[in-house]
Amino acid sequence: MISSPYKNLKINNMNSLYIVLCISLTVYSCGLFESDDPGFSSEKIYVTKQGDDEIAVINLSDGTIDTILIDYSATNCMVILDGEECGNAGCMWHEMGGGEMCMSMSNSTINGPHFTAIDNTNRYLFVTSMESGWVGRYNLDNHQLIDKEMVGNMPALMVLNTDKEKLYVSSMMSMVASGGGMQSRTDISVIDYSDDFDMVMTNNIETSSPSPHAIAINQNGSEVFVATYEGNWLFKISTSLNSVIASKPLETFTMDKTLPVTRLKPVQCTHTQDSLLFISCEGGEWTSGASTDTIPGQIQMWDTNKMTLVDTLQFSEFSRPWHIVSSAVSKEIYVVLKGQFNAGLYPDSDGVACVSYESGYLQLKWHIINDVFRYLHGIDISDDGTRLFVSGETDTNLYEINAEDGTIINTTLLGIEGVSKLQGVTYSPN
């Protein structure tokens, strides 16, 4: 006889067989062990919530949402007596009145997670925290923080070389403060994460051009491409040499790469296996010296072998092309059109667009708009190329979109409108 937890219930062996059978049927059929099934989906989407210091993890198989808190406890800078250690801890070494001391860089513990990158091979999740200057490494399976590395001055986008376990980090753009203070960076940071517990920033690759923000890496990891938001230039970097090996202005207008001309304003780029680089450029009204101009938001297609501009696709001056992603299975790229803050005055200028380069030049395949969209920001694509995932910075939604025709499949609210500030989106197949 089996004792039952149910009061006054006694059952015999035959009946217990029924129960075991039923439970087994339920457990098996409901897929509680489906992770052993090669057909089982455990896709996840990681969305940074810059305004909440969180990352939302959406499990597509069951719709559940987990949260990773980005909380790098404030370091007590003043107890650090060594200049190098001070910098490594995310503090600033100050010379004051003949003495030196280590001081905090800010008065707050805001981190501002902006972008995530995933190494599926080694099972890591990386996060840039642009307000605090840290890059964090997390275990992709349990989302526990492994370690963090101080990059300083607003780390932004990232690309990975998973074979060599290197992380390339760009910086935020156009942050020259009035009255002095923080200046735009001209370099990108290289972090070696081959050690299981301790990432190390090994290099800063100098471009001499302000605000290297847009960043992409080629298929074999030998070259990184960077476009400067203020400098208006494109750079090809050898990852073995850790230095720039080729550079070109994004337009003939800007021949001096060091000047902060801030004209086309490249935001992000993506590299495809046919040695093509696609750069999203914000554009907009431009004023300098005695000149004014209106620059359409645009996508540029570059041949990265020759470092030549192949084609340009223009959107409206108010469209502000933002994050961009390429399909691994078709000759298509997808770009978020951020639009204007006061969207009501600029109807139809924002949305999501699919651009084909099948014919060798850029051709708009579809462009969707929606009254719900408010300041779209990040985008990524599923491995099979069928679904896009787009974040709304102000509307705070994650949109799942059919990549074939732009139909919105699902909308998931991830926070509080206007407050949570959704940014980068990263797809993980498992």
Partner: protein
């Protein structure tokens, strides 16, 4: 029987559990906690209903005992005088005449926001405090740009949670106190706090869009580092200053060059632009035949346009004086006194301002009747090049003596014409001119 029940229960569990395999991603976050009290304006901008009452907002005087320094700064600020300011009062009266149904609420939605969100028509003391302590420190969410239609219907969106004895602010670990609860809010470090009153359009015209200007200049407001607060509520001596320094000073009092408000405005303006001559150190090309060429450059160092906000009321301009033997041989933007008008017919005048016109093309001094807008601003973080040409066809210049060139960028918060028709008349007398930048050089004609 029991087994049938168990079997059915299992099947029920099976059915429920298996729903997840439908790959539904319906939101688990569809109902964020509502931390704010609502209100519902009607088609005239009056409230049909509101969850807020006047007693939800305490007077700033109640904050004084514990927050004396903040109170002292705020009480001199333009936020504290947004309602009792005589220039606002004149504009408010005019709006009520021109728009009897909507004009009253339209103006107070920002200038006496407590009156707006509570729907009160009586003037309570706390309303006269304008943008007061308990209004801002009740913010639990962000508003949006105010897009006014031609009938100027008030529609500002505030997300506030007053009357719950909780003050929200940017201190991450506030000390307990016996008077109110304190709650940390990230919102207070973001520029979005300044919505909706500092981002405003009328009839589709982007007439006062300081937030939008900032948003564009900072690549979509990406960072909190360059927020409004970082310049206008700077963090000094362990706290955020609360005098909300901008470009305005109290015009009801004579100019006091050592008053803290004057000094802070002066200091802020001096960090806002850079002036430079655009010629080489030898200045070899300045004099060509009988023409003296003086190229200059003005570089903005701020994250919104110059001027911004009510730019139609402001003037920033270049004053240039070219002297030889202590006599002015050429000038532009040179005023006799603070209340003189600029010579708008001077083709050499480099002036940053804007103009708003009515449907009859009359120049306006307040926003409600705006039909046309002509911005002439220096956009954020941009440079403006300008070249002065002095043709010495009268043979004034003497080749044997040096030429002194003095260039200043000047600013005044009001065009004198706006103040001439406003009581009390001393407002005009008290109008300051601030020097934002100055460069000088001496040129010897080769």
């Amino acid at each position: 029987m029991i087994f049938k029940i168990i079997l059915l229960a299992n099947l029920l569990i099976f059915t429920i559990s298996c729903n997840k395999t439908n790959n539904s991603v319906d939101s688990k976050y569809t109902d964020p906690i509502k931390y704010y009290k609502d209100y519902w304006p009607n088609e005239s901008g009056n409230l049909d209903s509101t969850e807020m009452a006047i007693h939800d907002f305490a007077s700033a005087s109640e904050c004084f005992d514990c927050h004396g320094q903040y109170f002292a700064e705020w009480s001199k600020s333009r936020h504290a005088h947004s309602f009792d300011d005589p220039i606002f009062q004149k504009g408010w009266n005019e709006a009520q005449i021109d728009f009897p149904d909507t004009g009253e609420r339209f103006c107070i939605q920002c200038h006496a926001p407590i009156a707006f969100v509570t729907g009160e028509n009586d003037i309570y003391d706390v309303m006269k405090e304008g943008v007061t302590c308990t209004f801002c420190h009740s913010f639990t969410g962000f508003g949006e740009t105010v897009n006014a239609n031609d009938q100027i219907v008030a529609n500002a969106i505030y997300k506030l949670n007053p009357g719950e004895n909780t003050m929200y602010g940017p201190i991450e670990d506030p000390d307990d106190n016996p008077y109110h609860n304190s709650e940390y809010s990230r919102l207070f470090s973001r520029s979005d706090m300044c919505l909706p009153c500092h981002d405003f359009t009328i009839g589709g015209i982007e007439a006062e869009i300081t937030f939008t200007e900032w948003n564009i200049a900072t690549a979509g407001g990406m960072s909190e580092t360059n927020s409004c607060q970082s310049c206008h509520m700077p963090f000094r001596n362990g706290r955020h200053e609360h005098d909300f320094i901008g470009v305005d000073i109290d015009l009801t009092k004579p100019i006091d060059h050592i008053d803290s408000q004057y000094l802070k405005v002066d200091s802020l303006l001096k960090t806002s632009v850079e002036l430079s001559f655009v010629f080489d150190t030898n200045m070899t090309e300045l004099m060509n035949n009988d023409t003296l060429t003086i190229p200059i450059s003005v570089k903005s160092r701020i994250h919104h346009s110059l001027p911004s906000g009510t730019s139609f009321a402001r003037e920033a301009w270049i004053e240039i004086k070219v002297l030889q033997n202590n006599s002015v041989v050429f000038s532009s933007g040179n005023l006799g006194n603070n209340t003189s008008d600029l010579n708008l017919n001077d083709p050499a005048l480099l002036l940053f301002t804007s103009n708003i016109l009515s449907s009859n093309n009359d120049t306006l001094s307040s926003i409600p009747n705006t039909q046309y807008y002509f911005p002439q601003l220096l956009p954020a973080l941009t440079t403006k090049d300008w070249t002065y040409l002095f043709i010495d066809d009268g043979g004034i210049l003497d080749n044997s003596n040096p030429i002194d060139i003095s260039v200043r960028m000047l600013f005044r918060p009001f065009k004198p014409a706006i103040l001439r028709n406003i009581n009390p008349p001393e407002l005009l007398d008290n109008l300051p001119i601030f020097e934002m930048a100055r460069i000088d050089t001496t040129y010897i004609i080769p």
